[in-house]
């Protein structure tokens, strides 16, 4: 297992290079002088020159690239132009709401998605199957922000069950925090649950048709055991892949949903940074999201190894 994980880590290195390079060139691909763009229309030539110096824009391209990579290696993401603090600190400050929201939404997506996928597969072509697959179909074709707004109108404005917007930090209590995030988490979580339900159903149906399921039934095992112990675990691999993607999509989705619900997370940080053309922050957040995505994939890969003994030997 250790070797398996080590191998995965090594093959990860090239995938790290690509987002790093892309994020770096982000600054250079933008039209015009980034320094001038950042400072806005009424900046003086001296101010622009000073910022170019600060950003190292006057150095040759390769020097800039390696200086930047060197800084990244020490986790130095530079300073925000607007917030007047290190980008790393800005990200860390906004991390909690985004993580809480993503985990909460992921839990909803996984629990609702897998349970309805399994129920649909077991009752193939039955009423429950058709109902849950229709709901899933509607779910995946619904824009999350619109669903979020509908939830606000119904559950916050009409019934006053949940706050209209805002975030209660963890240090004011776990349940208070969860309560404040329920509407945004449901709005992104349920949409993703639709994807997970569909892949769970089709993967379960594939496995249920396999010979070893017939063997399990021939042993006299109750169908609950056949489904959960034999079928589900084998059906999990494609489902895990989709859950990994869902995690990434949820982080991306946070950008829209944090804006709708006014949650001070990474997504809002990015949206504001774009509005202010705060390049170091944009670079930092994009890089942060890319790295998170890569590490989630690594984690999913390692989970495969734990579920399927054949993966390790490949």
């Amino acid at each position: 297992m250790i070797f398996f994980i080590m191998r995965r880590l090594i093959t990860l290195l090239p995938t790290l290079i690509v987002p790093l390079f892309l994020v770096f060139t982000l600054l250079h691909l933008s039209p015009g002088d980034p320094a001038a763009v950042m400072l806005g229309a009424d900046a003086t030539a001296q101010q622009v020159q000073a910022l170019r110096e600060q950003l190292g824009l006057n150095d040759p391209f390769l020097v800039q690239l390696f200086t930047w990579l060197g800084r990244m290696a020490t986790l130095d993401l530079g300073d925000s132009i607007f917030l007047r603090m290190p980008v790393m600190d800005a990200i860390l400050q906004r991390l909690e709401p985004t993580i809480m929201l993503t985990l909460y939404a992921l839990t909803i997506a996984v629990v609702v998605g897998m349970v309805s996928g399994i129920v649909a597969a077991v009752n193939r072509n039955g009423v429950l199957d058709q109902v849950s697959m229709t709901v899933a179909m509607v779910g995946v074709s619904m824009p999350e922000f619109w669903f979020g707004l509908m939830l606000i109108v119904v559950f916050a404005v009409e019934f006053r069950l949940f706050p209209v917007a805002g975030y209660t930090p963890l240090d004011q209590g776990f349940w208070a925090c969860i309560w404040s995030l329920t509407l945004p988490a449901v709005s992104v979580g349920l949409v993703q649950a639709g994807f997970i339900a569909r892949i769970t159903r089709s993967s379960m149906l594939d496995v249920i048709g396999e010979d070893f399921i017939r063997t399990a039934r021939a042993k006299g095992l109750p169908s609950r055991v056949v489904i959960l112990r034999h079928a589900l675990k084998n059906a999990l691999i494609p489902v895990l892949t989709v859950i990994g993607i869902t995690f990434a999509v949820l982080m991306g989705g946070a950008i829209a949903i944090e804006t709708v619900f006014n949650i001070p997370g990474i997504g809002r940080l990015l949206v504001n940074a774009v509005a202010r053309r705060d390049y170091p922050v944009i670079q930092g957040v994009v890089l942060f999201m890319a790295l998170t995505f890569i590490f989630i994939n690594l984690f999913v890969d390692i989970l495969y190894g734990f579920i399927d003994p054949r993966v390790k030997n490949q």
């Binding site: 010979d211 017939r214 063997t215 021939a218 042993k219 006299g220 399927d308 054949r310």
Partner: protein, 334 residues
């Protein structure tokens, strides 16, 4: 071996079983009145061409046919006197693996690829014998020992992909034998294996009968295998039984034209044949069955009389479903 079925009540008696499938062409009848008996300590072979209904006969005894698309349209399956078809589902389920076990054709895909062998053998032992903890492991190692995997070669932590096909089939047989069932149904258990391994697996089945008194219903399309291990043989054609009898009798003097055809298409070691004969024509489709005798279009003896459903003629120990059985029984085919 005596014909046990005639002296004591049979272990298994399938009587006039009729089975249909719902398909996009409408309902089709896949078994049209199949009767098979298996006595105590008896090994009964079922032979017949692909698609004649051997596997679905076995699966209906196990109660493992796909629900929803399958319908039993008549007949009964008696196991030690109880009709399995009228048993409550829960009782039927509990008999599986405990009283009746099954070994399947494909050892490569019949084991769960991500569960250790030990856990897969332990499942029926825990479920039916109520053993716990170390006793389960002990019992599992015991059974594996009986199927020729010695205790010293502890494969319990291994996964199926680490074992050869022959080893996997031994494991499948160990799972079947784990709770000492009265009846084992083996559906072409050696077809996917190479010849030397085949012989070992056959020996194992015979040994199981000899030492535990297990009755065995053995499905194959290899008459050589039938000759080697079966006490009696049932020949099926297109969803019906066409001939049954003691193996030595049926193989030395086959009465049904179809059985004779099967025998002639068998390579023999002592006579040099130029080429093997095959039965002309092909098996009729389920939705397009000929009326009367289903073998009629391929039969060289057939005449207009064969358009009516043939009776079962009893000739010596053999039962033959053919209008011409008495006429052609004197004909000897080498």
């Amino acid at each position: 071996m005596s014909v046990a079925g005639e002296t004591s009540p049979p272990m298994l008696a399938i009587r006039d079983l009729q089975l249909g499938f719902r398909s996009h062409r409408g309902d089709v009848q896949a078994l049209a009145g199949v009767s098979i008996e298996v006595g105590e300590r008896e090994i009964v072979g079922i032979v017949g061409e692909s698609g004649c209904g051997k596997s679905i006969t076995a699966l209906s005894v196990m109660g493992l046919l796909p629900e929803g698309t399958t319908r039993v349209m008549g007949g009964s399956i008696e196991f030690r006197g109880d009709d399995l078809l009228t048993l409550p589902p829960r009782e039927r389920r509990q008999m599986r693996g405990r009283d009746i076990a099954m070994v399947f054709q494909e050892p490569m895909t019949s084991l769960n690829p991500i569960m250790p062998i030990g856990d897969q053998i332990a499942e029926p032992i825990r479920l039916h014998l109520g053993l716990k903890g170390a006793a389960v492991t002990e019992h599992a190692l015991d059974v594996l020992d009986k199927v020729g995997i010695p205790r010293s070669r502890n494969i319990l932590p291994d996964y199926p992909h680490q074992l050869s096909g022959g080893m996997r089939q031994r494991v499948m047989i160990a799972i079947a034998l784990a709770c000492n069932p009265s009846l084992i149904i083996a559906d072409e258990p050696t077809t996917a294996l190479d010849v030397t391994i085949q012989g070992q697996i056959l020996d194992l089945m015979v040994e199981a009968r000899d030492t535990f008194g297990t009755s065995i219903l053995f499905i194959t399309h290899d008459l050589g295998v039938v000759a080697e291990i079966c006490d009696r043989v049932v020949v099926m054609y297109a969803g019906k039984v066409v001939e049954t009898g003691r193996t030595d009798e049926v193989l030395s003097s086959p009465r049904h034209p179809y059985t004779q055809g099967l025998m002639r298409s068998l390579p023999s070691l002592d006579t040099r044949q130029e080429r093997l004969e095959t039965i002309p024509g092909s098996v009729p489709a389920l939705f397009d069955m000929p009326r009367g005798c289903r073998f009629r279009p391929r039969c060289s003896y057939a005449d207009d009389g064969c358009r009516r459903d043939p009776p079962v003629e009893v000739i010596g120990g053999q039962k033959v479903k053919c209008w011409k059985a008495r006429q052609i029984s004197g004909v000897h085919h080498a």
